[in-house]
Symmetry: C2
Subunit: 245 residues, 2 copies
Amino acid sequence: MAPALMFDIDRSSPTPLYFQLARAIEGAITGGALPAGSRLDNELLLAQRYGLSRPTVRRAVQELVDKGLLVRKRGVGTQVIQPHVSRSVELTSLYEDLARSGASPTTAVLSLERVPAPVDVAGELDLPEGEELVVVRRLRSSGGEPLALMTNYLPGRFMPTVEDLTERGLYQYLRAAGVHLRVAHQRIGARMARAEEARLLGEPPRSAVLTMQRTAFDDVGQPVEFGRHIYRASRYDFETTLVGR
Amino acid sequence: MAPALMFDIDRSSPTPLYFQLARAIEGAITGGALPAGSRLDNELLLAQRYGLSRPTVRRAVQELVDKGLLVRKRGVGTQVIQPHVSRSVELTSLYEDLARSGASPTTAVLSLERVPAPVDVAGELDLPEGEELVVVRRLRSSGGEPLALMTNYLPGRFMPTVEDLTERGLYQYLRAAGVHLRVAHQRIGARMARAEEARLLGEPPRSAVLTMQRTAFDDVGQPVEFGRHIYRASRYDFETTLVGR
DNA sequence: GATGACCTTATGTCAGAACAAAGTATTGAC
DNA sequence: GTCAATACTTTGTTCTGACATAAGGTCATC
């Protein structure tokens, strides 16, 4: 039985109540107050204790179920799962992932030009073939070691500078340009590195690399970015959390 | 403006109303009745038309937003995104994925034995080191060509037979054994194939392969399966959909 | 003609209530 | 003592109702 944890719910704060509660419970889990396998108090009780309604509590719990931290079972209750802390792949750029985990990412812009859209990229970005695009090729390193080789395509209306892409990440530039990224489709595969890629990444020739292809959509459902990335398999992998019904 | 699509909502059916509505809208999108970029009717209107309440409609729409098919924007409405139909990676086995997509998967059980748990696997399954485990090594093919080499560990209480694993998938066996899989953490990487792996997969030696490590948890939050899989990169890749706030 | 205030529209958040369904525990009969 | 029916607990689904907030357009004013 879980102890009566006490969180502060600030009703005057603009952050939604369900989000405050979700964050508080998440903190209790990662902080160890709620060990793996322990049962959460039932929804009615939680609602009563914090002066919230059941739908609000349910939404907070749902948030954590989606994150893979809790498991619900009708007639039984809600339990804490292994706190594997695998921060599930979110809609963030590699740069942000690295910066948040304490690494100090650096970026070298290899090229930045404007070209007519190739057929395949035009299809991904839902633009007519030949439309002008911005193409940027970058080498991302962390801890002094190369990590990824990234090629990104943006519609021609964007005009990033080399400084934008060196100092911060591509996604930070897009946000500053008023773009709100909402959804992305991505495809992860593997293949052998080509000679130039291996050289840039500091890997032996013909070594295995992870490939990632991503198309990102903004909040009106329009594609705004298409990228083909290559990661050093020896230094990087993807973590995801899958949630069943 | 979207045409007045008409779905049947069956109130006597045991399937939840929000799910029926979600499936209907999804069908309209993939079927072409709702092209990419078109706006959905607003929630109040939808609720009125089908005799549902707004929360129910919202839940249905949310379902599709999570799937990456729709995008919501406050004050504006809900729009259909590119129907990329990248069925996001779900909590299913490779076998089910293949079977559903019309392929005819076959499985060869290479070995099936009981061994004391190695340190790393014991940690993943949250069991004491040395505890008896079931280990199964399988080669999955589709269309006559090898596709994946799979090594899976189960707690000793399970006793699958070679037939179980040949005729159906591992997850189907687990479900039949009364296990309800709920969450899985997985890690995707790449590396070079070892000699034996390349031989089994029918790839040239030292070619690139995709690796996947998965720990699956049941509905009481306990780990019940740990697997290390190797996929032929030339024939397989992972698709995911990321949804931002 | 540009800019700000205001209104409309649509989604976002929250409350309170009721019944359904599934799992567990208890109780009762044999 | 065993087993089945029953009661209880807890999450699942759905409703009604209300107010908040953001985006976009309109209109009047400067």
